[in-house]
Symmetry: C2
Subunit: 414 residues, 2 copies
């Protein structure tokens, strides 16, 4: 029986496994975490809206319904591509086919000061750490008598006007205005400052301009300060530097201004191009290595003149296609090259406010927000997780309350 | 306005604050965590049944409805009892009345090897750490080819046949048999070994003998090995030593064989007696310091010839009584000395199996289990937490599934 090894249980890896299950192949799933993480909702964990457990789903729970599969919890350290062997912390794993979906990491473009002081949202622990930091900043602000230092504690700088930056900015200012203003009556809520900094001249560059304008107007109405055409060039624990000159006193810097392929690509010795991504053929395999597939953020594929974006829908479609390609080869059937079918994109801004674009159609406000909600619930894995998330959302919607306002690492911050 | 400082937002501190709120006193709440923790359900977090967020409730959320109160997140370092000043990491806090409810910590009776290797359940982080360890042991067992080492990885030794030991043993064996057996088809579930060791000759010493017998029979039916009249005297990372001689190969040791007052009692310079507890008068204050009250596990009070047990109901009643004593003094009204009204005790063993005793009445099986469920839901603070916990329980009851099977500290264990 031929063995397919899938590295990375993100959106791409999970779809590939689902497609390959029960087709007479041995499927070995490898991840350094024992769960699939629903990254698009990390920002809601960071803003105390969801418990971290509700956006993670155990791989072994999924693998139960995938005949022929087994899971190995291990960190991949390298590969002998000629010998078709994967090297991991749990030993070497030989493969006939390899599907790699290692995802992406935050790209600080070599700025070490920013990398050291900025928060990002890639791992489950990142979200908990950021939530702890936000809540600690409020606790420190309450105890701070110097108004300037208090203001710095309550200033949150968000870099990058893509979906993550926009969603986090909206969720954070709602947390401050609806929830923390009641928790910290000692703190004037108006003193909290949330700044969103974008190097280009508009938000959500991948969307039509009118949706960018709607998002900017909404965020400004909610109280977010928007700065366009500016770049963050440096940081300390208590300041953020703009364009190499201006300094903002701020204890929180959140970075969502760039991603690059995870270091796994380099570890495996795969060829790398822009952003560390691995160029793949129309079959999603590496040139000269038809048995090695790369899917998701890590894969670099041009379509209609530009590289496919590093987003979940691309990863999901790639995962399915890589699996189908393997099955087609095994059954000596033809298969067409991969082509991404763009069903649109969306971002939520706040209560009853979101933007969505699909097939040339643009939606804003309540309909977009409802579509966002339903789609995210749909793609979340697990009945229990869906129920808990829905419950949290309903609770927040009706009671203006986010309950997960827990500081879980008090030792570190004191 | 006179100021009451309450240290510790456990069962005692919360009840005291609730009682004092809105009575014209200034109430300062101090805790090193920003949440009240529902400790009786920690074992369910440790056995993947509940997310940690569902058994913790932010102090500031409670304090909103307590007029005259404010919260300070701080670690208490000492006190100048003569000057009526509390020393904390957030500075000195003067008081007119002080209520201390610092709770208890695990007592290893000076056995350093056991203290180093054993797990306990006192803090929220303990539960997450124990869950991670249990799941990691399974992952390691899957990868282990040596049958003896695999058996050691799957051997869990629980010390102490009190409610915590009994509830954890029952929840753990159900986790293994109902859930992990499906997650790890590679592991023979019968290979898992759960041992409960009690130095006395029966479980649940505080309950009538027939309930002890029922509990022992139930646990044995479920597959737990019970050892009576034995003591754990030593431990390494991979072994547990019994009575100074026998050695059990086991990678997990859970200790619930003793508690003592939290180190806070010593830090405050209060007099200490057995188990580090602070002897209190019938007014729950310290002899010679009528303005200093100690409540809960930390307080030592004899009633009918024996010290009151270190359990949540005692802490709650003490918290209320300390608050009432302060109000009585302020209003120059008489107040009777504290007297604990024992409403009974209970422990759950497994699905539809629990024991309960109240007013001389003994319950077992389904009625006791239902009473346990309802009472724990009732005492859990927060509508959302109750809903999430109820949902988890219903889900587990119907689907035999516990969803929080996440390993969240994979770096540490690898």
């Amino acid at each position: 029986m031929k063995r397919v090894v899938i590295v990375g249980m993100g959106f791409g890896g999970v779809r590939a496994a689902r497609e390959l299950a029960g087709q007479g192949l041995e499927i070995v799933l490898v991840d350094r975490n024992n769960y699939h993480l629903f990254q698009p909702l990390l920002y809601q964990v960071a803003t105390a809206g969801l418990e971290q457990e509700s956006i993670a789903y155990p791989v072994r729970a999924m693998a139960r319904s995938w005949p022929g599969s087994r899971f190995i919890l291990a960190e991949v350290s390298g590969a002998d591509l000629d010998a078709r062997q994967l090297q991991t912390s749990a030993g070497d794993i030989p493969y006939d086919y390899l599907i790699v979906g290692g995802g992406s990491v935050t790209n600080y473009f070599g700025n070490e000061a920013v990398a050291r002081h900025a928060f990002d949202l890639k791992k489950l622990a990142d979200a908990e750490q950021l939530r702890n930091h936000i809540l600690w900043s409020c606790e420190k602000a309450v105890a701070e008598s110097n108004p300037e230092r208090r203001r710095a504690l309550m200033t949150f700088v968000i870099v990058g006007g893509g979906p993550t930056g926009v969603e986090f900015a909206g969720a954070l200012i709602e947390l401050v205005h609806y929830v923390l203003s009641k928790d910290y009556p000692e703190l004037p809520a108006r003193e909290a400052r949330i700044m969103l900094i974008e190097a280009a001249d508009r938000l959500l560059l991948a969307m039509p301009e009118k949706l960018s304008a709607y998002s900017a107007r909404k965020l400004r109405e909610m109280g977010v300060e928007l700065l366009f055409g500016r770049k963050v060039t440096g940081a300390t624990a208590e300041t953020v530097e703009l364009d190499g000159s201006d300094t903002i006193a701020a204890h929180t810097l959140f970075w969502s201004a760039g991603v690059c392929a995870a270091p796994l690509a380099a570890k495996l010795g795969l060829p790398q191009a822009g952003g560390g991504r691995v160029p793949v053929t129309g079959q999603l395999s590496v040139a000269g290595r038809p048995e090695v597939f790369v899917v998701g953020d890590m894969a670099l594929l041009q379509q209609d003149g530009s590289p496919l974006p590093m987003v979940a829908p691309v990863a999901m479609q790639m995962g399915v296609h890589a699996a189908k390609t393997i099955l087609a080869r095994e059954w000596q059937r033809p298969i067409t090259p991969f082509r991404y079918r763009d069903k649109g994109s969306m971002a939520t801004i706040g209560r009853s406010a979101a933007v969505a674009t699909t097939h040339g159609l643009s939606l804003t406000g309540y309909p977009a927000w409802l579509a966002w909600l339903l789609l995210h619930l749909y793609y979340l894995i697990g009945f229990r997780n869906r129920t808990v998330v829905m419950l949290n959302w309903a609770y927040y919607y009706w009671f203006h309350e986010r309950q997960v306002r827990l500081i879980t690492d008090n030792e570190r911050n004191r």
